[in-house]
């Protein structure tokens, strides 16, 4: 069993609420869930949709075909009806869209009039719609009712009751009328699942890592990280500040980090472009910082609400001058959660900027999991505080050490002063100009540290046939789709996936043998959501390996499973 439900309509019609609730119902019913969102850069009108796939087997991508379309307006039917599967159904409100569609696949449920009849207003139409989907699927209504009770707790019993009434009516109506529905959804086995998207996972990872300061300027599709952290600010003692611009955002975070707290900022490509000077400042002053860059298609404003992976090379080399950094590109919310934790640990341990490269596809896609293992989360306080700091005879912020790591004290917690400088500086942090100190500092700050950092980087994740002839290579948000592609195609071909989420520094090829696998493969295909094949280029700069097969998509939309499979089969 593997169904795709799409809720489609105009911005402002509440399709995100319907989609969000349905996903939650499926996850609580212990199905595997994967959702993705397609929305325009406008607040009302236009055409958006919310796509949910749920199954009793793991799912980690979307498909082109739709089993159940919830159409909130007429345009949605026109746009999506060709995507229906053989027994696919459309549910809609004929009186609302002012047209009745003929054909077995159309189910007219009068969302509005049911709502109005029962509650006196059309406000609960979406509740009716949501419940009718559950009816069509032949699922239970209990879980949805539970969700209604939770979400409207603050609004009072009356609202809860009205919603429950509306949901029951929609549900019953659908069951009664949907004679053509052939859906068969087993009752859940296993435990209810956690459902989380990429932005939330980064925010959660940050809080779990002791992040106490988040300054940012709103920018789609990264704003979700800020919103999540802000929603927990009070409870978890976090300062979240909306800066006047991105330059300020990164400099504030650096100030907070200097003063002794774990600090982070987040943005998308255009905002990151403005942070580049600050990134270089972090490098020079050895101030830890974590930066989430949630990509959207560029250049410039591009397609603000869509997805792309075209900022990779930019991030690898952003900033004037040379300084160490780490770049992670999680492939799933789970990876985002753990890698954000790792980002904070490495940032603090090596006193460097760590970049988390995500994209709109990952940011807005929900994945379901049994749970996260919190014992995997680490926390070490790498700073010199209080007594330990006071006890020092002398203190030099940029002390030359063999491993390049200097003691990082919290200013004010001891009598010593903490000095750092964006100019080249001596061990004390004071400005210098001589060649000798310069060389020592570069060797310490860049060379010594970079080698140790490389040891911290895990090799790519290899999945599938150990002796695969076809290796699909990808990074970041390509993880889910590549994994399922391998699952599908492995019955036909000796195929595997190599997924990079720890991008920079490049995992040591002396210590890990993944390049051997790539060289042994008959066909290595680099699959990326950009036009120029940035990862392929990066891999070549690190290893000399040249892909002769590449699949690139740059229309701002994620790959659909069947689409990618088709493209792969075409070229192999």
């Amino acid at each position: 069993m593997d169904y795709t439900v799409v809720i489609a309509g105009e911005a402002g019609q509440g399709l995100q609420t319907i989609g969000g609730i349905l996903s939650k119902v499926f996850a609580r019913s212990s199905f595997h869930v994967f959702t993705h969102q397609d929305y325009m850069s406008r607040i009302r009108g236009g055409h958006n949709f919310y796509q949910i796939r749920f199954s009793d087997k793991p799912v980690s991508s979307s498909k082109s075909r739709i089993d159940l379309l919830v159409a909130l307006n007429r345009e949605s039917i026109e746009i999506h009806k060709d995507r229906l599967t053989e027994y696919g159904m459309v549910v809609y409100d004929a009186s609302y869209v002012k047209k009745t569609y003929q054909g077995d696949e159309f189910l007219d449920v009068p969302f509005e009039s049911i709502s109005r009849e029962l509650t006196g207003s059309s406000l609960m139409s979406n509740t009716v719609a949501t419940a009718s989907v559950l009816g069509m699927l032949g699922m239970d209504l209990n879980i949805y009712e539970g969700i209604i009770k939770e979400s409207f707790k603050k609004k009072g019993e009356d609202i809860i009751k009205k919603n429950i009434d509306a949901s029951r009516a929609g549900y019953d109506y659908a069951i009664k009328k949907c004679l053509k529905c052939r859906f068969s959804v087993p009752s859940g086995v296993g435990r209810p699942g956690l459902l989380i998207n990429g932005n939330q996972a980064i925010g959660l990872g940050a809080i779990a890592s002791g992040c106490k300061f988040y300054s940012a300027y709103p920018m789609t599709p990264s704003t979700g990280v800020m919103i999540y952290i802000a929603s927990k600010a009070k409870e978890y003692g976090i300062v979240v500040e909306q800066a006047e611009d991105e330059i300020s955002a990164i400099n504030m975070a650096l100030g907070a980090s200097f003063a002794g707290v774990r600090a982070m900022t987040g943005t998308s490509g255009g905002g990151f472009a403005l942070m580049v000077e600050g990134l270089s400042l972090a490098g020079m002053t050895e101030t830890p910082i974590v930066i989430a860059e949630v990509q959207r298609p560029g250049p410039a404003t591009g397609l603000p609400t869509r997805t792309e992976q075209a900022d990779l090379l930019f991030l690898l080399y952003a900033g004037h001058g040379e300084f160490p950094r780490v770049v992670f590109a999680p492939g799933s919310p789970e990876q985002a959660f753990y890698l954000t934790n790792r980002a904070f640990e490495l940032a603090e341990k090596y006193q460097i900027p760590v970049l988390i490269l995500s994209d709109q596809y990952l940011a807005d896609s929900q994945w379901s999991y049994e749970g996260f293992d919190l014992s995997e989360i680490s926390f070490t306080d790498y700073r010199l505080r209080g007594r330990e700091f006071q006890a020092l005879k002398q203190y030099k912020r940029h002390l030359l050490t063999e491993d390049g790591i200097s003691p990082m004290a919290v200013p004010g917690e001891g009598e010593h002063v903490v000095v750092t400088d964006s100019d080249e500086h001596d061990e004390d942090g004071h400005i210098i100009e001589d060649a000798e100190t310069r060389v020592k500092m570069v060797n310490k700050r860049l060379k010594a540290k970079m080698e140790s950092i490389r040891q911290e980087i895990s090799p790519p994740l290899y999945y599938g046939d150990e002796r695969a002839e076809i290796v699909l290579v990808g990074w970041g948000s390509m993880y889910g789709i590549l994994k399922e592609t391998v699952d599908v195609l492995s019955s036909k071909y000796p195929i595997s996936m190599m997924h990079f989420s720890q991008i920079y520094p490049f995992p040591s090829i002396k210590e890990h043998d993944f390049m051997e696998r790539l060289k042994m493969a008959q066909k290595a295909i680099c699959i990326e959501q950009n036009a120029t094949g940035q990862f392929a280029r990066y891999l070549r700069s690190e290893t000399g390996f040249d892909f002769d097969l590449k699949i690139n998509k740059y229309d701002g939309r994620p790959f659909m499973l069947d689409e990618l499979i088709g493209q792969i089969e075409e070229i192999i």
């Binding site: 996850a27 609580r28 209810p192 699942g193 956690l194 459902l195 809080i207 779990a208 002791g210 106490k212 300061f213 300054s215 009070k234 978890y236 003692g237 976090i238 300062v239 500040e241 800066a243 006047e244 611009d245 330059i247 300020s248 990164i250 400099n251 504030m252 975070a253 650096l254 100030g255 907070a256 980090s257 200097f258 003063a259 002794g260 707290v261 774990r262 600090a263 600050g278 400042l281 002053t285 749970g371 996260f372 919190l374 989360i377 926390f379 700073r383 919290v410 200013p411 004010g412 009598e415 010593h416 002063v417 903490v418 000095v419 750092t420 400088d421 964006s422 100019d423 004071h430 400005i431």
Partner: protein
């Protein structure tokens, strides 16, 4: 009892002999010592420029960051540790040119940071281009037709933005400057202290003599809580240039409005939360 000024001793300044920055440096040390603020209790945040080098010439916590970005860094530090005295030391190009946007928003926030601007009406370190406060007509190698823009009046702008402390000092009037620095430091809220600073090498217009002929101290009867009067006073610039506290108010301070900072500085709260399970549960 003032603290021993040797406590603040730093590197030898690389400024030109006669530069107005020397008096600002010495006055700042005096002010801190008289206020008994020890070097580790204050953080100086500076940008790039001659002014930006000041923190290296004394001893105290220092973040010498980028040109124009003193205020965001200072804001971050203050939010992470509101028990720390945070002073941003900036040049006029630094803070009114490159960093102009941050000034507007730091004033709006009313974060309890002190901003001391070494206003020499010129870009010193980059060798004499005109700055946002340069007088119209000042010719430089990058402005062959002279500076064509109206000089920025930072004080009038600050008053318009309802800045909670707005003052002007003069580098060569050290006693008064010290008083203004102390007042700014003691004020609760954002304080802008614009310090007229002769640049003996590049600014051949606004010299010690030019300033001396024009500068006067606001007298005691001046009511610095009257915003309209403050605006008029801030507009005075010509034959007579007022120094003193032009405007002050007692509005609420930014960091005091953040509930999270009520009990202790953020930096003391560095451990990750223990009840992560609670957070996770919401996703089920």
């Amino acid at each position: 009892m003032s603290l021993d000024r040797e406590l603040y001793k730093g590197q030898t300044p690389a400024w030109c002999p006669g530069c107005g920055n020397f008096s600002i440096l010495e006055t700042l040390k005096e002010a801190l010592s008289e206020l008994q603020i020890r070097p580790h209790q204050v953080t100086l945040v500076s940008g790039i420029g001659q002014a930006g080098k000041l923190p290296h010439y004394m001893r105290c916590n220092t973040f010498n960051g980028l040109h124009g970005r003193t205020l965001p860094v200072a804001t971050g530090i203050k939010l992470a540790n509101h028990e720390m005295l945070v002073i941003a030391v900036a040049g006029d190009g630094d803070c009114y040119g490159e960093g102009g946007n941050h000034l507007i928003h730091a004033i709006r926030r009313n974060i309890n940071v002190k901003l001391f601007v070494h206003n020499n009406q010129i870009y010193g370190l980059t060798k004499g281009q005109s700055s946002p406060t340069s007088l119209q007509g000042m010719v430089s190698k990058t402005q062959p037709f002279g500076s064509l823009s109206e000089p920025l009046n930072p004080l009038a702008m600050a008053v318009a933005l309802d800045c909670s402390f707005v003052a002007r000092g003069y580098a060569a009037d050290r006693e008064y400057l010290k008083y203004l620095m102390k007042e700014a430091i003691n004020h609760r809220g954002f304080a802008l202290l614009d310090i007229l600073q002769p640049c003996v090498t590049f600014n051949k217009i606004n010299t010690y003599q030019w300033y001396a002929e024009r500068i006067y101290r606001l007298d005691d009867s001046y009511n610095n809580t009257d915003r309209k009067l403050a605006f008029e006073t801030a507009l005075q610039w010509g034959d007579r240039i007022p120094t003193g506290i032009i405007f002050r108010n007692n509005k609420a301070v930014f960091e005091e409005k953040i509930p999270v900072l009520k009990e202790r500085p953020l930096k003391n709260n560095f451990n990750p939360p223990e009840d992560l399970q609670t957070l996770l549960k919401e996703f089920y």
